[in-house]
Subunit: 268 residues, 2 copies
């Protein structure tokens, strides 16, 4: 809770208290070596760390992780140590954000997509989703988002199965973090691959969101807002169905529309 001064029409400014979305740094260490600092909303930090390492191409199997511990000398719980099996070879130089972009020679969108595909192959799921199911996702996500109602400052990511049943929802001040958390949840619960699933995000769909979905083998990504050009190019090349502007009773399909099937009678 924090104190704010509220200005409203035809009234003097008034002090009142307000909820804020929490933002704190999290340092992720692999075998005690720092690899990333991200600003995140505390909570589900193990999922965030594991989801980040998976979507950056470092982890493949649940057994790759021996242990996840808070760093003992940090009392704020903002440092996590991920200890890996000796079988995992870690290329620390690659472990930065946008590792795929920076590793591509002749830097451009196309080269970036190819760099990701060297690591994560395109998806080929034949599973279809009814249009009525797609339309229900934003409402189902919103009903789970209690924190959003209070502070208005959180992004959400959710995984649904192909019938629209919620598997997991996470919120964070950073939308990439929210995606890392739901994917990290799947990894820690040994539920990956999410290859008959839908990733739904509260905001826009960027290249990075699509790349993270591909790392978890997710064939369908839905966003409340617009996708970027590179998100669309990436989805087309990766076999992913990308839905944008999913609001109210309508949506746009930017790639692989064959996975969305018409449903005459919409269940509520």
């Amino acid at each position: 809770m924090t104190e704010v001064v509220r200005w409203q029409p035809n009234s003097t400014p008034k002090r009142h208290t307000d909820m804020l979305a929490r933002e704190e740094p999290l340092e992720i260490r692999v075998d005690t070596r720092p690899v990333s600092v991200t600003m995140r909303t505390p909570g589900h930090d193990e999922e965030l760390a594991v989801g980040f390492l998976l979507t950056e191409g470092l982890l493949r199997h649940r057994e790759d992780i021996l242990e996840i511990d808070p760093y003992p000398r940090n009392r704020e719980n903002n440092v996590l140590n991920v200890f890996l099996s000796q079988d995992v070879k870690v290329n620390f130089a690659r472990l930065t954000r946008h590792v795929f972009a920076s590793s591509s020679c002749g830097l451009c969108g196309k080269a970036t997509i190819e760099a990701v595909h060297q690591h994560f192959k395109p998806v080929h799921s034949k599973r279809t989703i009814e249009s009525g199911t797609v339309l229900q996702l934003p409402g189902r996500m919103r009903r789970q988002q209690e924190a959003f109602e209070r502070s208005g400052g959180l992004h959400a990511a959710a995984v649904f199965d192909s019938k629209g049943t919620l598997v997991v929802l996470r919120e964070d001040v950073g939308r990439h973090n929210a995606a890392d958390k739901v994917i990290g949840y799947g990894f820690l619960q040994s539920q990956l691959p999410f290859d008959a699933h839908i990733l739904m995000v509260s905001g826009r769909a960027s290249f990075e969101i699509m790349q993270k979905a591909l790392a978890a083998r997710i064939p369908v990504v839905c966003a409340v807002s617009a996708p970027s050009s590179l998100a669309v190019d990436f989805a087309r090349a990766s076999g992913q169905t990308l839905v944008g502007f999913l609001r109210g009773e309508s949506f746009n399909v930017y790639s692989h529309p064959e996975r969305i099937t018409q449903e005459k009678a919409k269940a509520s």
Copy 2:
């Protein structure tokens, strides 16, 4: 332009064409050495590179830059070389995103704020802003945002003077990039410090937005949506006025409300 399939109520799905916000990687090099890859909307790349280097604490004066050139062997114009004066000492190890967070021992929000303040002192501007001026900013920003209307996928950042006159507006798929671009514009035009100015952002106010504003000495930051807890803590400690939920006829002031003055008759 791209082809999309539009699903609407009581109608068969229809193909039509749609605008997309462009997203491409940009690699920033300092004296030919790669320091950052960011996903951005092409355009105003020199401003983005310079704004990034300034807000990360590397640049201080216009004369620090000798030259900015596209990397000759990259035909996509996605690599920029920034050549610095010999007087500038570059600590390449520090030049990563969230450099301030990662450099703080005992990682937490408070330590992160202190790390930034070792580099950028708090602001002490006595300039006040009329509440009527604050209320006009979102409309003025929106009228400049033509691209936003078409693609719906861009964040915007704008700098206004204390009377609400627009100095510069930039759009980008990344909101931190939009902030870097307006600050980079001020740097390249030798208009910094923006110490009697307002930074307005289209989305939420994060720690990183406040840090970038402080680097440019901006005393007032306004956001259409919510601030995070660390943005508010940072603003209070940095002498910055932070306005959030600036929409329609009302707004919240989260820190240093003394800079906002009541205005009885609102000019349109």
